[in-house]
């Protein structure tokens, strides 16, 4: 079942357009990650979907109910959802009262509130602070209070707006574990925005990339990271090699492209004549001598021109007509005895070479 369906959403603050042409649908029980640079509109989109503020234009239905025509349903719909914000937000009262807020708004019976609050604080490991003032806790603890405050209301859809951006690794892990478990066990639908690509990959079944106020691409995270639709997305998802090339022919199932007189095979059907090759650094393998048996369709010699450590990996730039950046583990780089000027063999599978139409300049 589709729980959120948004079309052509637009939102401006004054003359500043924050969102435009946003289309998004969210299926019940999935974890959808929204990734994108700061200022791309992720937070604003989550607020619109959680019905915290209205869009300027577009269609939005939540739980199959059209929210544009009738604002009267907003409170009821909003009470079936929950949102956790980037900055830990607690109110000037006890931890208990903080967590009880949402249930009190819903006029839940007192003994019910008591039981749920205690359970929720147990789950985030904060039972001992139940009577403390929430503002005395650390940032990570405050964020866990905020999470339990949302979870006691049993939301069907949970929005997480960069929930771990300012947190230590332990609090981050706790929050990620809870969210994953709730999704698996309770079938809670989760929308999480993050600028942490690894977190997006780790948690999300499906990823949407937001660039400059709109969703540029959605798909399984593997697809987003391996087959970005355009150069901006490719850059954002951390592709090291975006190289201009020209389609020269087809060979069997493969497309032959030429970059600086070097022919490379790609498994992508040609999207245009002038293209860009998108190759992730970790898909490029380096060898000391020509491998005897190699499955990769592309195999060629090259010269190491630069070695740049970015622990725990090493960025190795090799020259083979065009420059390619390969991502090698530090251990492997040592084993290969890499140094500048060294001759190496490069192997690259055709399906690791993704082609996109060349961006117009």
């Amino acid at each position: 079942m589709t729980v959120i369906e948004a079309h052509n959403i637009r939102k401006s603050y004054g003359s500043l357009e924050v969102l435009h042409d946003v289309d998004l649908s969210v299926e019940e029980g999935e974890i959808l990650g929204l990734i994108g640079p700061s200022g791309s509109g992720k937070s604003t989109l989550l607020r619109l979907l959680d019905l915290i503020e209205p869009a300027n234009a577009g269609e939005l239905s939540v739980f199959g109910i059209d929210t544009v025509a009738d604002h009267g349903t907003w409170l009821d719909l909003r009470r079936r959802m929950g949102m956790l914000f980037q900055r830990p937000i607690v109110f000037n009262s006890s931890v208990y009262d903080n967590v009880a807020m949402g249930l009190r708004y819903r006029r839940a019976p007192g003994d019910n509130i008591d039981r749920k609050v205690k359970e929720a604080l147990e789950a985030v490991g904060l039972s001992r602070y139940i009577k403390s003032r929430a503002i005395d806790l650390s940032g990570g603890e405050q964020q866990r209070v905020a999470l339990s405050r949302v979870l006691v209301t049993d939301p069907e859809i949970l929005f997480l707006d960069e929930p771990t951006a300012n947190l230590d690794p332990t609090s981050t892990a706790t929050i990620e574990a809870i969210v994953t478990r709730l999704n698996r066990e309770a079938g809670m639908t989760v929308l999480i925005s993050t600028h942490d690509l690894a977190q997006g990959q780790r948690l999300a079944d499906r990823v949407g990339v937001m660039i400059a106020g709109t969703i540029a691409q959605t798909g399984p995270s593997r697809e987003i990271f391996r087959e970005p639709k355009n150069q901006q997305i490719a850059r954002f998802v951390g592709v090291q090699n975006i190289i201009p090339a020209r389609v020269v022919s087809r060979r069997g199932d493969f497309t032959v492209v030429e970059a600086r007189e070097k022919e490379i095979l790609s498994a992508t059907p040609p999207p245009a004549e002038e293209v860009e090759m998108v190759v992730r650094g970790e898909d490029i393998s380096l060898h000391r001598r020509k491998p005897g048996y190699e499955e990769a369709e592309n195999l060629f010699p090259a010269t190491v021109t630069a070695i740049e450590p970015t622990a725990p990996f090493v960025n190795v730039t090799v020259h083979c007509g065009c420059d390619l950046v390969a991502l090698v583990t530090a251990r492997r780089a040592e084993a290969l005895g890499l140094h500048e000027g060294m001759e190496v063999w490069v192997s690259l599978q055709a399906k690791a070479v993704h082609l996109i139409p060349r961006a117009e300049r």
Binding site: R47, D50, I52, L75, R78, R79, M81, G82, M83, F85, R87, I89, F91, N92, S93, M101, G102, Y105, R106, A146, R149, V150, T153, F159
Partner: protein
């Protein structure tokens, strides 16, 4: 002690007056507290809801209203005294109340004096609740009324500071109580007007005694303020 310095002498006598709970000192102190506390109470009763209304409702000229309130923080007390005097005098529209030269009239004057301060400080106290907190309240499923109540509860300490500041201004001012109350002995004489009168009559010991009490009240307000603001 007959030939001593009148100031030092006055100081010693003042301590005596306070320690022995001189009836005149006690009576003036109690009246002062009664007038200013009552005025603060009524001002709060009027100003807090109005301040909240200004904060929660979007209307044309909201900014101008808030600026005007902030200007009125420094409203000269004698001007308020004069206006309230004219309103309450026999020829004024509220003369029939017979409030002039009574503690009731003084309460009215001080109430009017500190209403702008309390309204303005209420607006800024509520504005201190940041955007993310308001989003959180909405996201937790609060209705419109529940949102308002939560924001007010969250701003309670800041609002309380405003009320304390208002009380401080009321008890320390001399202009309105002098004009509207008339400084009548045993009827409308309060700390500030008594100090003014006794000083002009060279009756320093009583002035100093009342001054010490006034300072103590101000100090008490300040301590209460810092306690509240630490929350």
């Amino acid at each position: 002690m007959v030939n001593g310095n009148p100031i030092i002498e006055g100081f010693i006598e003042a301590i005596e007056l306070i320690i022995t709970l001189d009836p005149q000192v006690v009576e003036i102190t109690i009246r002062s507290l009664y007038v200013s506390l009552t005025a603060t109470f009524f001002a709060a009763l009027i100003a807090l809801p109005l301040g909240a209304l200004i904060y929660f409702y979007e209307f044309r000229g909201k900014h101008a209203v808030v600026s005007t309130l902030q200007t009125l923080y420094a409203l000269p007390t004698v001007i308020v005294g004069l206006i309230v005097f004219l309103l309450l005098s026999n020829v004024g529209p509220f003369g029939f109340l017979r409030f002039l030269y009574t503690p009731g009239g003084m309460i009215v004057a001080q109430t009017v004096l500190i209403i702008p301060l309390l309204m303005g400080l209420t607006v800024s106290a509520l504005s201190g609740i940041d955007r993310d907190k308001r989003y959180t309240i909405t996201a937790l499923g609060a209705s419109r009324l529940q949102t308002v109540m939560t924001i007010i509860a969250e701003a309670r300490f800041a609002v309380m500071s405003g009320v304390l500041l208002g009380f401080g201004r009321a008890i320390a001012e001399v202009g309105t109580v002098m004009i509207v109350g008339g400084n009548i002995r045993g009827a409308t004489r309060v700390l500030t007007t008594a100090i003014a009168l006794n000083t002009s009559m060279a009756n320093y010991s009583l002035s100093i005694a009342l001054g010490i009490i006034l300072l103590a009240v101000a100090l008490g307000v300040n301590i209460a303020l810092s306690l509240v603001q630490r929350r």
